[in-house]
Structures are given as C-alpha cells and as structure tokens.
Symmetry: C2
Subunit: 263 residues, 2 copies
Amino acid sequence: MNENPIGIFDSGIGGLSVVKEIINILPEENIVYFGDTARVPYGTKSKETIKKYAEDDVNFLLKYKPKLIVIACHTVSSYASDYLRKKFKNIKFVDVVKPSVEKAIKVTKNKKIGVIGTTGTISSGRYQLLLSKNNMNVYAKDCPIFVPIVEEGWFENEISYKIAEIYLSEIKKHNIDTLILGCTHYPYLKNVIRKVVGENVEIIEPSYEVAVKTKNILEKNNLIRKNDKGKIYLYFSDIGPYVKKAISFLFDKKIKYKLTKNV
Amino acid sequence: MNENPIGIFDSGIGGLSVVKEIINILPEENIVYFGDTARVPYGTKSKETIKKYAEDDVNFLLKYKPKLIVIACHTVSSYASDYLRKKFKNIKFVDVVKPSVEKAIKVTKNKKIGVIGTTGTISSGRYQLLLSKNNMNVYAKDCPIFVPIVEEGWFENEISYKIAEIYLSEIKKHNIDTLILGCTHYPYLKNVIRKVVGENVEIIEPSYEVAVKTKNILEKNNLIRKNDKGKIYLYFSDIGPYVKKAISFLFDKKIKYKLTKNV
C-alpha cells in the first residue's frame, strides 16, 4: 500500500500548488493529479453539478488505487466533501478547508479569525460554519479581483495594494489575530496582505496545511513511502496553453512529471 | 420562416448582452438563447475542445429551426467560426467579431485601430488578422482584470481608472481614432475608457454591431417578423446563482422570458 500514490484533484490548475507543497514535504511519495480543465471552474456551477463532477474526479483517481485522496478544490471541499466521504467510505480524504480551520483554532489567541476567498468559497459559508462551531468569531470577505491580479503578475504594486486595502478594511476593524488565505492564488499577494493587516496577524495558507495534514495521516497509518524520489503523474481533461504555463510557473525545473490528457 | 427564432449561443452568460441589443432593435423577433454554463469558460480550453463544444451548441439550437444563428461568444468566433460555417453550410451565421471589424473600417479616418479584449480573444489574433487584411494598422491589448472589475461593479472608481490607464497607455501612444471593445463586459467601463483615450476616439461595441448586422441580414432576406412582441427562450446547461443574477442585472423588468435547464 505504501507504494500506492497520493491522489489529488482540482477543478483545474489551482490544485497544483497543493502538489507543490506535498512534493516539498513528502518528496518520496508517488502522486497522481487530476485537473478537470475541460469543465473548470466549478465555482459558478450548481451544487448538483459540483457533486456530479467531484464524483467523476474521484472515480478517475480510484483507477490508480490511491492510499489517500486530497480534494484540492475549494468549491468541492465546500459543497461536496461530506457527500464524497459518505459515498466513498473506504477512502481517506483530506479536503482543503479543514486543515486550515484546525490550524487557525490552534494558533488564535483572541478567537477572532478572518477568512478571505473567492465569491464561491465565501458564499458557501464552509469556513465560517466550521470555525463558528468551535466558538470562533469569524469575519469573512470575498476578494474576486485577487485571482486576476495574481494572474497578471501584479503581486506587489500600487493597484494590488489599493485593492487589498478595500477588501480587507472591514475585516481589519475587528482586530483579528489570524487570517486564512482561502484560495490557492492568494499566497502570491502575501506581502501586500501582510502590509495591510500588519505584522501581528498569523497568515494561514491552505496548500501548506493540506500537505502537513496529509503527512500526519500517512505517518499515523504507516503509509509513508521511503524509497527513492516519487513519480509525478499529471492528468488533465483538457490541455490548453494555461496548463503548461501554470506548470512551468509553479514547478521547479528539477521536478520531473508525466503530463497526459484524459477524456 | 419569418416566425422561426433567431438562435444565439455563448459559452455562458456574456451573450445575454447580445440578446439585450437584439431585443432593443428587433423587439418582434422570437429568440432562443443557449448558454453553456456547465462548461464555461471556453477561453481556457484547447482549440479542438472549443470546436467540439461550439458544434454541440449549434446542434442544440438547430432543434428550434433558427432562421439565423448568432455566435455571441468571442472564443468561438475567434477559433471556430470558419469551422462552423463550413460544417453547417445552410445556416446564416453572424459572429461577434466581423461586424465590429466592418464598422471600424467604415469609421476610421487614419486607419489606426485599437482592439482590447480578454487574453484569449487577443491572443487568437482574429481581430488583428481581419483588420490587417484590410490594410488597417492594429494595436491590440488584453485586459484580463476588466471582467472582474465589472463584475465587482467598480464601473468608475479610482482603481478602474488606474487599471485602464495601465492597459491603454501603449495603444494611446499610437494615436488611434477607433477602439473596439472586444468583450461583452467592457461597455460597462466605457466612461473610464473614454476618459483615458479621449473624446475623439470612436468606441465600437460588438454586441450592438451584431444586432445591427442581424437586422440587416434579416431585412435583406425578407425574414423580419412583424407581428406582436417576440418570445424569449433562455436555455442554460447549468443554472447557478450567477445565471439569475446576470439576467436580472441585464434585462429590463418588462422583458418576459422562459428559463430552462438543458442537459
């Protein structure tokens, strides 16, 4: 079983940042990634459609007998992770929301936690629900322009700073001591966000927390692979220029992978 | 044949702005719209996939025996309109690129034309090709942050103005006298764009030009319907909150329509 891969899926390319973090801390694991680029994004679809697509994605990964599956997609984690856990009872799942929630609860001192994400993630209320259940005060805000700002490469200029000021002004007023960056793109704006919220706020990055959680589960279950470097298989339902651009942007040149289109 | 509807399709909701313009100038026409919201956006997909999806969309509309089909999607117009015209020889097509190209050629005096659009539209080179063929000097720029700026409702604030200044600075240097807004979202930023490019630049809006072109073709072929108010049928492959929001944002409350999910 230890030889079996970690399965990871996302609606598109965003989950590659989770792959990157897992390679960093678990370099000997085999990884099978599926990005549903033919149907990306999921965030604008109905709940019913999101569940159906998520099920398709899991069924694809099951062919490779994964020892654990990472739901690297915020939309699926928000709307369909309970559904998947029920449907596929024998599978160990790590979703992209819970590890950050657990970390936030652990590090906060004043129980005031901020959460930012896409409109879909924030309006799903998933982060808010899981944090409130644990008696946290949650202040959430969607930041729809952050993703295109990152894709434009404006990581730290006047405009990204101004937009961050507008988006975070309300959250800041509540004197939060912890902020979850609930979107795989947002870590690129960390400097700008840091400037706006100040030095004393703990910033939590879901991709990293997911990797740590994955490691913990594998260790606990004696499923860690200790051998040579793991193999990386990347499958996408469609391969346009965006996919190749994202891979070369995210991955160190030393990382070897096999890229395949799957229909 | 005059009773038959005008068919209109788009990858998602953007084409509803074309529906709106057609209702404005051809209020007595029946309209069948298909938005492929389950697979939106097309811009990030491969050419092969775009062609396949476009063919699916046309086949859906053909069930309603349209007297003309409007390709309201910039991606399909750029990558698959020649393919569709070849494949469906008996259908009259109006795409969303050519009418604006024709208008620009007609109104320009110095033959210097600017084109802005999404990264997909601009990198397809379709506008540039059609304009250059007619001996125009073309200056094109993709403006990826304009769409989310519009969706945030920041039609005219400091940030939208600053972003417009950055995006249009290069084009402006070339002393253009005509600018095509090659994306259905951009007309909402017209005031800001106008401020940046100045009063003397003719601004061309594709949705409006498509409606005019449609009217001309129907008149030429004696296909105009003259009766009572036309019926509007809106089909989407998925209906999430975005679809309803877009309809209520775009359509006058007096417009009656029937909304159906088609799988």
